[in-house]
Structures are given as structure tokens and as C-alpha cells.
Amino acid sequence: MPIPTGRHTLGPDDGTLTVRTGRTGAASKAGHDLLIEVTSWRATLDLDGGEPAVTLTADARSLRVREGSGGMSALDDDDRANIEQTIDDEVLRGGAIEFRSSGVEPSADGAALRVEGDLDLLGTRRPVAFDLTAGDDGRLTGRARLRQTDFGLKPYSALFGTLKVADEVEVAVDARLPAAAGT
């Protein structure tokens, strides 16, 4: 379905912004692949007839572990809390996360946007490109793959470097599209 024109604001009430992480290293079996939800974020889509634009800001301290697969045993609440603490203390450290488009190209049928822009992550700005697609179910989805090292982040490692979070992570948004323009 075409993405409605107008200025749209999206946030956690409309859908999810998630980060998927993988693992690498000789002892990768000991770790977990994680699905982490960013629980505080705000995105805008400006499709009101002028130059289309997309922005996103996210609170680096709002990440919550939703799933963990693999590992030697299932993650419990304490484990999830430990991971969230580690993200806060050692990885994102509460830094600023902000994306601002530099170019947005709608598809011919208006159901997708090719978005290019700059992601500012903890003070390091790098270009990022991704597609946003409106499905027939009325949801807007998109995903981007980012390398932590591109932003000066050292992927978390444990067990003397034999268990590491993979450098590349996948960020995905899945949100309910506004029903009408200007919502």
C-alpha cells in the first residue's frame, strides 16, 4: 500500500525498533544471539509534498533484551539485566543516537522509500542507507545492517576474547502506519 502523505511521527506506541546481535569466536557456543528492543525512540516521516525526509532519535539507555537464543542455558531475568547493564556501562554508555536523512526516494507505487542519510552514534557520524516498505497489512518495515567498528565501538567480548559479539548488527523497525495524512 502507498505510504500516506503528510508528516508522521512514530514511536514505541506504534511499533518496535529492534537490534539483533550475533556472536563469533572460538567459544561462541557459550554466548547468545540477542534480540534487543529499543523502548524509547521517536521517528518522523515528512511526506507533505516538499523534500521528503526521515529522522530518528533513540535513547541509548532504553535497550531491553527480549530474546536470547543459543548459549549453554536459557537467559534468565538476571542475565538479561546484566546484558542491559553492560550495554549501558560499556557499549553505548548512554550516548546520543540520531539519524537524519540526506535523501529520500519514493518508489513508483509510493509503497516504499529508499532512505539515505547519516547516523550519529555516540559522536561518530557515518552514512547509512535502507529501505522502508509499507505492507498490505498497513505496517511500515525496514532494516539496516551496521558495523559497530564503523562507529568506533569495540564489539563486546568475554572469555578472554574467545566469545565476541559479531561486529555487524541488524537494526529493524516495524511500525503501524498512520491511517491518514497528518497523523
Binding site: A26, G31, G71, M72, S73, A158, F160, T162
Partner: protein, 142 residues
């Protein structure tokens, strides 16, 4: 049984290093996550090591004992007998230190059972190698 060999340098006189490594209160904290729980004699201690595995941690508790000590050759054999806290696993090792001026070598013969061993011998070797390499770095400051 996993056997590993490492060398280390301290940049200090052999007599100084010899005295330092035989002092379990100084040696055991050189293992990342290791601490002395109780000194049971001049040559033995109850100890604990907590190994962080990302979100989780495995804790082993047990004893460290100097079972052979050659003061002339500056060679010592230490025996580690540890059990996984709250689990069925064991981590046992015979660790031989042989000193030379400015450093020395460490031969480790270890036997790991339980959850940690279930990851496979290749993983155990990699983790143990990482732990001992880290230990040798910390020995520089002992």
C-alpha cells in the same frame, strides 16, 4: 587432559619472582576473576575463580596447593582442584612454574568436566589459553 605451555617475563630478578609466585595471596589474584577465600597453610589456599561468559558467569571453588618446590632450580608444581559452584563440573590442573632470570615458563595440564567441557575440547583449549595468557600478562606486575 589439556596440556599447554606458556612463557612469561617479569623483568625482575629470579629470586624476587620465585618468592612472589610462591606467595598464593599475590599469585591467585593474577588469575582474572580469582581470589583467595582462605589461607589454609603457607603452601595452600582455598580459592575461587569467577569466569565471565558474557551475561553469565561460572564460578569454581577449590584449593590451590604447592605440592613440589625446588628452591635451587626455582621450579614449583601447583595443584588446583576446583568444583563448579552449583554444578557438577570440575576444573583440575597441575601447573608447573620454571623460572629463569627475568621470567619463566608455565606448563599446564588441566582436566575440565561438566558444563564448560560440553562446549568441546577446542573451546576449552582456547579459553584456557586465553586465561593463561592473561595471567602471564598480570605476572609482569607481581
Amino acid at each position: 587432559m589439556v596440556e599447554l605451555d606458556h612463557s612469561f617475563s617479569t623483568g625482575k630478578p629470579e629470586d624476587y619472582t620465585w618468592e612472589a609466585i610462591l606467595d598464593l595471596d599475590r599469585l591467585i589474584p593474577c588469575v582474572q576473576g580469582g581470589r583467595v577465600v582462605e589461607r589454609t597453610s603457607p603452601t595452600s589456599a582455598k580459592a575461587e575463580i569467577k569466569v565471565k561468559m558474557g551475561a553469565m558467569a561460572m564460578t569454581f571453588t577449590g584449593t590451590v596447593e604447592v605440592v613440589e618446590q625446588d628452591d635451587d632450580a626455582h621450579r614449583a608444581l601447583m595443584r588446583v582442584r576446583a568444583r563448579e559452584a552449583g554444578g557438577q563440573g570440575h576444573a583440575n590442573a597441575d601447573v608447573t612454574f620454571a623460572l629463569s632470570d627475568g621470567g619463566g615458563t608455565i606448563h599446564t595440564a588441566a582436566q575440565i568436566t561438566g558444563k564448560a567441557a560440553s562446549m568441546g575440547e577446542g573451546v576449552v583449549v582456547s579459553v584456557l589459553d586465553g586465561l593463561i595468557r592473561d595471567f602471564t600478562q598480570r605476572l609482569q606486575a607481581i
